[in-house]
Amino acid sequence: MKTIKQIIAASTVALTSALSVLPAHATLGSCSEAIVLGTTISETGPFSTLADRWRKMTEVFAEEFNKGGGVLVKSCNKKLPIKFVIYDDQSVPATAVALFEKMATVDKVDFFVGPDWSSLGGPVPPVAEKHKIPMVMANVATPSVYDRGLKYIWGTPFPVVPNWSARYFEMIGKVSPKPQTIFFITHDNPVMKGITATWSKKAEEQGLKVLGNETFSPELKDFTALIAKVRAAKADIIYLSSYDNASVPLVQQMRQLKVRAMDVHHTMLTGALHRQVGKDIEGMTGELSWYPGVKGDYSDLVETVMKRADVSMFDYIWTLGRLTSYLTMIQAIEKAGVVDREKVKEALFKATVKSPAGDVTFDERGFPNTGAFTVQMNGGKVNVVWPPEVATGKLVWPSPTWK
């Protein structure tokens, strides 16, 4: 009997204390406290390969931004600093959901930014919706996630699929010799397959003949069969629609098997790819959401933050999406003029915000119209080559070493 009493006593204490844990939080609408933005970052787990330096970067962003005083809140007639609450979602959706619930109910943050990735961008938004907290997701690019009639979510994936290769195709419409044929190789991933679906159609509209589309699984290591088909097709442009890491063996084997083309275009040309394939990357074109040297709104802030946090855009190509989600929320608060969730939600609806890569406009679903710049690897350096107004280097056509 004594034991039973002990159990009941212990569990009552545990339950009550769990329920009463309420750490200090910001009160909305106040003009004296920092604006708290809650987010999770995939610091561990499979997605951490894309994001492991972002915690530091986020903290540095807050520091740098607050140096200018913070967010201008008209109704308070002053600038309020921003503060981040950051948790590690471990790349596990259930964990992310629990953490966002915590931030909503226990930490009581003001607004949400992030998370990234479709796996998390599916389950997490309903939490924001339930608590009526505006959320600007970062790198969540799957359109179906925005199609669910949720009113409190936006996203800043850079770039979005419909705009992904817009500048590239613009470019190849203007180069000479003109390419006639194109072959797609696609990584089995929703974003990449979406890109291929959209851009193979646009390629045809532009007059290019699509000679084939081969899909490969994320774990594939031996591409001999696939490359054999590509070589047989002898297309002018080979369009690699893939995540950088998944394509490392593919690029290496394409070189070994002496694949030839006017250009080999990669939808995710990154520092990680460069480091792993070395010289094989030479001459390839790709897209980047932005690159230091391209001037735009907030570009100085972004450059400083990235330098201090030692994050290279070429290595962590999703960084602009992440940082723009912060910039979007800040601009929304400034536009609303008051630290109020409903007003900020209204301010975000179909808003246009500024970013280092240009203006970003959200449609009624919260889906943006972000795009990318075309880049080319020349002499081991990455150059922005299109549009010519912001280019940091000259395009070499046809691609050297591939012809």
Binding site: L19, A104, V106, G122, P126, V127
Partner: protein, 609 residues
């Protein structure tokens, strides 16, 4: 007395706990509810895994597959506008069917190979989910309509948790549970005492799959989105397994405690510790594995902490009888214990068991070579021969541990070639093994009770335990009633083995070298037992033995094997003088000397083949 009080108190606490949990979503915040929800799901997964692993001993590392298949089936149904309950039911059905299909190839594997095979299922399912795009939407995943379902999902999963716990209790109190436990200990022996192992394995896998599917469906519902990596990912697949193993697999409270402790720990690490959470978590798992591998509830220090020791009780400690029942006297039959065995009358004319040209060949090695013999009901027949002559193999042919490569075994007029091992046991063939093979982690009482639960007239576990006591008394093991069988001495194990064979209520008892290693007094006791079971109950006995002094007191006749062939069959006194027998045992010199003796004496050695 103490038992009964704890039981009521236990139920009250349990009920209070469930009530507290049910109220949680209404009084607590959404964060606590979400955490509690993941704990509930983990419990459903962990406990359903433990039915196959802890109870039956098959470590299914791919259990998460059932979670994933359930999640997908549910999501597809829900997107197709089916009502919630139908969608969940659909998920359970599909997953159970998948379990049924996969069980056929999978249960051909045992031990580590079973673990490999099941582990490999996860990446296979992930590829299927990625590639069967028309059905699963491939890498895009399935987006479910967004409804704020945390509270209903939580409450339903709480209900399922309670159900899972109740199912665990029911399994352990039922014959099904004992079938599982006997398989865990020794599958082959389980079959020869009458347990039908194939249907049992299938059923437990399907049951486990069904509950795993519900966990997947409920979590998919709450998250409103699934994709292949989320539900089949290797990074989360072993988590429920680790949680159960952490506290103690096969214990009543093991899965629950393990899930609670590790899930809480994980959450705490996540929000309180900056960096190195995975390292700390992994370190804790590692240390438990190194120092308390049975789970921390089985560690010795736990016995001293009152609350924990209550949680650490093994299932069989709940099955024991109360002191009042234990005090009941066993029925006596004169001075001997009365066994609840039928008295078999010998049928004249027809032999009970007949071997017709039985051959058993392993590759090039002929272990049993064209052996024919016939034994009548009520005979005690000794089976002798040098080591390696095929005696145990012959036993194995009769009880179908091996299938003879040639010839027929007829038992009571029935050809055994069509019968399975458990059918043969139920027809009335019981046996002991040369090296005793008790069900090690079960008590003496449970060991005897199991055959009683699975023979021709099966008893419920309670009745079987009660009836087992007579056999245990007969074997003079009453003082070890509630001890685990693997804690017995060799002699006690042989007695247990014998009693268990009797508990199969056999017409034919195959006794394999039960006397070796025993003192003369103990040998004499066995001889008495063998004579007694034949005289009193009419059981036919075939006894393999090397100790002739034991045999000669009780056998009617003797059969001699040499290198797989039958070389003599007749009364002991005759057989020991047979030339071939002598040369087999003693070498030709002895044979020669006997011949000389025979020539000198008027008696002639007769060999009967």
């Amino acid at each position: 007395m103490k038992h009964g009080m704890s039981r009521t108190a236990g139920w009250l606490t349990g009920g209070a706990g469930v009530l507290a949990l049910a109220v949680l979503p209404f009084v607590g915040n959404a964060y606590i509810t979400t955490i509690a929800f993941t704990v509930l799901i983990a419990y459903i997964l962990g406990q359903s895994w433990d039915w196959v692993a802890g109870e039956m001993g098959y470590v299914n590392l791919g259990h998460y597959c059932f979670y994933g298949i359930g999640a997908y089936a549910f999501s597809i149904a829900l997107v197709g506008q089916w009502p919630l309950v139908v969608a969940i039911g659909f998920a359970v059905l599909i997953t159970a069917l998948a379990a049924l299909v996969i069980s056929v190839p999978l249960f051909r594997l045992h031990g580590d190979y079973f673990a490999f095979g099941t582990l490999a299922l996860l990446p296979l399912m992930e590829v299927l989910a990625y590639n069967l795009t028309p059905v699963t939407n491939g890498a895009d995943g399935i987006v479910l309509p967004v409804e704020q379902v945390l509270k209903p999902a939580y409450l339903i999963s709480l209900g399922v948790c309670v159900l899972t716990f109740i199912v665990t209790l029911r399994i352990n109190a039922a014959r099904f549970g004992y079938a599982l436990k006997s398989i865990r200990n020794d599958e082959q022996v389980a079959e020869t005492v009458g347990v039908r192992i194939a249907p049992v394995k299938r059923r437990v896998l399907m049951l486990s799959a069904g509950f795993g599917a519900v966990a997947g469906a409920l979590q998919a519902w709450q998250m409103s989105y699934i994709d292949p990596a989320t539900v089949f990912g290797l990074n989360v697949a072993l988590v429920p397994v680790a949680m159960v193993l952490f506290a103690g697999s096969g214990l009543r409270w093991g899965p629950l405690v393990g899930v609670l402790v590790l899930a809480t720990l994980q959450q705490w690490l996540l929000v309180s510790v900056k960096g190195f959470q995975a390292t700390l978590y992994g370190l804790i798992v590692l240390l438990i594995g190194r120092f308390m591998p049975g789970g921390f509830l089985r560690a010795r220090w736990v016995r001293r902490v009152p609350l924990l020791s209550a949680l650490a009780r093994e299932h069989h400690e709940y099955m024991g009888e109360s002191d009042a029942q234990a005090a009941l006297q066993v029925a006596k039959d004169g001075t001997a214990v009365a066994l609840p065995l039928p008295r078999i009358q010998p049928e004249s004319g027809k032999p009970l068991i007949e071997l017709q040209n039985v051959c058993m060949q392993f590759g090039g090695n002929v272990a049993v070579n064209d052996v024919s013999l016939s034994i009548r009901q009520g005979e005690i027949v000794g089976l002798i021969g040098p080591n390696g002559s095929g005696k145990t193999t012959l036993f194995n042919c009769i009880s179908r541990v091996y299938t003879p490569t040639g010839g027929r075994v007829m038992f009571a007029g029935q050809d055994l070639s069509q019968a399975s091992r458990d059918e043969i046991a139920r027809l009335g063939v019981g046996r002991t093994y040369q090296i005793p093979r008790p069900f090690g982690d079960l008590t003496v009482q449970e060991n005897i009770a199991i055959p009683l639960m699975f023979n021709e007239a099966p008893l419920s576990p309670r009745d079987a335990m009660r009836e087992a006591r007579s056999f245990i008394e007969y074997a003079e093991l009453s003082h070890r009633l509630r001890d685990r069988a693997d804690s017995l001495s060799v002699q006690e194990r042989k007695a247990l083995e014998f009693a268990r064979a009797l508990a199969c209520k056999p017409r034919l008892l195959l006794v394999d070298e039960v006397a070796s290693g025993l003192t003369p007094v103990e040998v004499q006791r066995f001889v008495e037992h063998i004579r007694h079971v034949r005289d009193r109950y009419g059981i036919t006995v075939i006894w393999v033995e090397h100790i002739f002094s034991a045999l000669e007191k009780v056998v009617d006749r003797v059969i001699v094997l040499e290198q797989g062939s039958l070389i003599a069959d007749g009364p002991l006194s005759q057989v020991v003088k047979d030339e071939r027998v002598l040369s087999t045992y003693l070498g030709s010199a002895a044979q020669a000397s006997t011949k000389t003796k025979a020539q000198k004496s008027p008696q002639r050695a007769e060999g009967v083949v």
